[in-house]
Amino acid sequence: MLKVRIIPTMLFNGISLIKTIKFWEHRTLWNPIQIARVYNSRDVDELIFIDITATKNNRSINFDIIKNISKECFMPLSIWWWIHSIEDINNLLKSWADKIVINSEALKNPSFIKESSKIFWSQCIIVSIDVKKINDEYFVFSDNWTINTWKTLIEWALDVEKLWAGEIYLTSIDNDWKMEWFDINIYKILLNKIKIPLIASGWAWKISDFLKLFKETDVSAASAASIFHYTHVTPNNIKELLNENNIPVRLIK
């Protein structure tokens, strides 16, 4: 039976892992390699590593860090850095990453999605979409949520699917600012339109947020960071609750 995935996110500032208090306020955590080792020892389903200031600081990919993190991961690892070329993806996969996440580059140059999928296969290519609700419509934002593209979520998601993306990673901005879970409604709307897997991303604080998400929508996975860094909740705690409610998960005993 297909199992839904709980995916911890590691946020990186170029030096160390961080946790975010409000969107732009960061506190330092630990060395990413150590954290990857811990998550691997806890048998998490997957891991996403994001350099959240790379685009802003024009910071190119540090392949040594990626390789060292990958060595600790015996589960799938996705990398989200400032990826803007086929060569970047090639080098990331050679550094043992399993999947890559693209956002702004995909918006600037949509054919980059198809070009990447053709060479590296769809399942390696996750397209991240950031949305904000304006007057009852969800619009796609780029460049770290600073520019409104005026594309609607549905319009862009359907394009992304047509361009052979393997998965969509969807984050709602509104709820991020408020540190609540995201709007379940957008997942329901989007999942009726697309056929590729969807990863829900947000800043959930309560285990019950995950239960609500998987009970009410058909998302394939949920990704979060703050709940694992600010509370004692582990990915397995979440999966235990999902399992009790008959949502298929991979539970390691």
Binding site: M1, L2, K118, S122, E167, I196
Partner: protein
């Protein structure tokens, strides 16, 4: 010596890493004929890609030597299948029986039922169908899958595990004497994979 065949695709390092993790040190990544001839075990991360991996193998002139080792000399062989979403650009018929014909097989596409999202990027559990050497003593049968297609073999007795979640019965592992194929992404399936590898390495002693 365990040889992981390198034909210039991307995932050999993670397979190598997993073998090292379970304590195997006599292991190399190679595409040299002399290494393959001296191998006690051969591992082939099998990839389907537009970049035509089979052309790489042909260019490296490895097909005959792999066949000799596996079929004639009965060296234990593990094929790890990674699949791509062909999306109709190449029909799966294009690939039918064009590769190592250790076992008679054909490629089938996972049906895109309304409740199934493709590519199939998921953890999923497998069911053991026939007596399996590869899957012995594995407590957790959840493995990580990344595929839109799967292969099926003619002799159903060679199929040792399946997934029957969908309208089709999907083959996940095939075992025939010294030849082992896995459909899933085992080097990313944590402890389950480590036990599977250990079983593979124990084949000669069985």
């Amino acid at each position: 010596m365990l040889v992981i065949i390198d034909y210039y695709m991307w995932n050999v390092n993670s397979v190598y890493n997993t073998f090292k993790k379970i304590g195997i040190n006599d292991i190399i990544i190679s595409n040299k004929k002399e290494d393959i001839l001296n191998a006690d075990y051969i591992v082939l991360p099998w990839v389907w890609a537009f970049s035509d991996w089979i052309k790489n193998l042909k260019k490296l002139d490895l097909i005959d030597i792999i066949k000799e080792q596996v079929i004639k000399n009965k060296i234990p062989f593990l094929g790890i299948c990674l699949w791509m979403q062909l999306l109709g650009t190449y029909s799966y018929e294009h690939w039918k029986n064009k590769w190592l014909d250790f076992i008679k097989w054909e490629v089938k596409k996972i049906k895109n039922e309304p409740w199934i999202r493709v590519p199939h990027v998921w953890w999923n559990n497998i069911e053991i169908k026939n007596k399996s050497f590869l899957l012995k003593n594995i407590k957790n049968l959840d493995f990580y899958f990344v595929n839109s297609y799967y292969f099926d073999c003619d002799n159903k007795n060679d199929i040792t595990s399946i997934c029957n979640h969908w309208t089709n019965i999907i083959t996940w592992t095939i075992e025939k004497n010294n030849i082992f194929w896995t459909q899933f992404h085992p080097e990313k399936s944590q402890k389950s994979w480590m036990q599977l590898l250990t079983n593979f390495l124990n084949y000669k002693n069985a």
